[in-house]
């Protein structure tokens, strides 16, 4: 228990110091663009814990969730196909190199032409960025399947779906999780960017609106909210990772002598 408290203490120490510095340094600020932190905090509840929660925060998170989920499923499925088949890999890899080099934000105008300015476009922008880290890491993970373990499956005639799950996917899972972690931060960025074009709701939209309306404290509070959401999502990610990769972290700590 004291170990957990100590870890929480270490994790919070620097943020607390920085917030305190910000708080006192900005306390008497009269600069219009850099209002005191106390004012930003004061407008926070009214700004976000009101109708905006349902109008802006939830739509953003829903689009992120759908886009991220689609990218995960598609990335893993494509990664398994490409990683386990040399012909598929040889045919698709040059194309993938080209596609992943395109920065997703430049796809926004094209996606608007194809999918309109609604939720579909925003979800597609998120998918177009989140897909690559998942896909490329899955390919690497599948190729790194241990040959001894693969031979074990062959001799014991473990085949089909069982082989895919117990050998290929589980072997690749540390890499898949790495890709998923990178994709999550990309996804949050793209969530905001997609809402800065032709949007009528969302966190990115709200922040831009505040900026255009010179409601600077509210704008700052939106930036802080995005930061907090990022932290929350990464904590959730860690909890899931801990469950999925418990064996991996355990085995990397080395075998215990008994």
């Amino acid at each position: 228990m004291s170990g957990i408290l100590a870890r929480v203490g270490y994790a919070l120490a620097l943020p607390v110091v920085l917030v305190a510095v910000w708080w006192f340094a900005s306390a008497g600020s009269t600069d219009f663009y850099f209002p005191p932190l106390s004012r930003i905090v004061a407008v926070f509840p009214d700004t976000w814990l009101s109708s905006r929660l349902a109008d802006d925060v939830l739509p953003s998170l829903t689009r992120l969730g759908i886009g991220y989920g689609v990218a995960l499923l598609a990335g893993v499925a494509l990664g398994l196909a490409i990683g386990s088949n040399r012909v598929v890999a040889a045919v698709t890899e040059p194309l993938l190199e080209f596609l992943r080099a395109i920065p997703p934000p430049v796809l926004v105008p094209i996606l608007i032409l194809v999918a309109g300015i609604g939720d579909t476009m925003k979800v597609l922008v998120i998918v177009s960025g989140c897909l690559w880290p998942v896909l490329l890491n899955t390919v690497d993970g599948v190729r790194a399947v241990d040959p001894v373990l693969a031979d074990t499956c062959r001799t014991y005639r473990v085949r089909g779906g069982r082989r895919w799950w117990h050998l290929v996917i589980r072997s690749a899972s540390p890499r898949i999780v790495t890709g998923a972690r990178q994709a999550l931060s990309v996804g949050i960025i793209l969530m905001v960017i997609s809402e800065m074009f032709a949007a009528s709701s969302g966190l990115g939209y709200a922040v831009i609106q505040f900026k255009d309306g010179f409601r600077i404290p509210q704008m700052w509070s939106g930036v802080i909210l995005l930061g907090l959401l990022g932290v929350l999502l990464s904590v959730l990610f860690r909890i899931v990772e801990h469950r999925v990769l418990g064996w991996y972290h355990g085995s990397r700590d080395g075998p215990r002598e008994r």
Partner: protein
């Protein structure tokens, strides 16, 4: 039971042609315990992989119960040297033993019984819920042996299974594998580079030459069936057999160097 006929294997890679196995012919009778021993690098693992159907020979055949081996055959299990890499680190010990049975479509109640019996036979009755990486090397190899036992193979192939464990664990595991063989009555082909181990374990020791590999000698081990580390290894006959195998392997090494 397991017949190897005129087996020949050449690795062709990047301009380098390696003749791993020259010409091997031998037979393993049903229910017998045969050890294969040879100088290091003589293609023992290649031979075992051909027997297991994991590797296609360049020419020659391996037949199991009269049927030619073209892929991993039914009723054959392998215990690999790299125990740490042949167990699924994401599965608990019992699930590792259980997986081949599930793949074979064995009923749940039977599976539970087989897994329990196999883990009991290797002295790991209390390790069902552990993960392999929580166990020592010797215990991990016991899990791999338990998995092979539960699978109820007619033939069990072992590829230098005790090469990576310490000497005391090794002696325990040698006795364990003799026990398993006598209790479950499968056919055993045990590949090793350790001469003492081969003589101590086998009913027959097949000695190989350096590559390109041939059978140098096929020696029956006429030691009593009851063997234990102290009396068997102290037996003058053991020393004699051991000396003979040693001389043969030395000869093979020298020949390998001159040709």
């Amino acid at each position: 039971m397991l017949a190897v006929e005129e087996l020949h294997k050449v690795y062709d890679g990047r301009g380098r042609r390696v003749e791993a196995i020259g010409d091997l012919t031998f037979e393993v009778e049903a229910g017998s315990f045969v050890c294969v021993v040879g100088p290091s690098g003589c293609g023992k693992t290649t031979l075992l992989r051909c027997c297991a159907g994991l590797l296609a020979p360049t020419s020659g055949t391996v037949t199991l119960s009269g049927a030619p081996v073209t892929g991993p055959p039914e009723g054959l299990a392998v215990v690999f040297q790299e125990y740490g890499r042949s167990l699924f680190p994401w599965l608990r010990v019992a699930d590792n033993v259980d997986l081949p049975l599930r793949a074979a479509g064995v009923a749940k109640a039977t599976r539970r019984e087989l897994v329990g019996e196999a883990l009991g036979a290797v002295g790991l009755a209390d390790a069902h819920r552990a993960y392999p990486w929580q166990l020592s090397g010797g215990m991990q190899q016991r899990v791999a042996i338990a998995r092979a036992i539960a699978y109820q193979p007619r033939v069990l192939l072992l590829d230098e299974p005790f090469a990576a464990v310490d000497a005391q664990t090794r002696a325990d595991l040698e006795d364990l594998i003799r026990d398993v063989w006598r209790r479950f009555g499968m056919t055993l082909l045990f590949v090793t580079h350790d001469i003492d181990e081969a003589v101590y374990l086998g009913q027959r020791v097949i000695m190989l030459t350096s590559s390109p590999t041939r059978v140098a000698e096929d020696l029956p081990i006429d030691l009593p069936d009851e063997r234990d580390q102290l009396t068997t290894r102290g037996d003058p006959r053991f020393a004699e057999l051991r000396g003979r195998v040693y001389a043969q392997i030395q000869k093979a090494k020298l020949e390998g160097r001159t040709t």
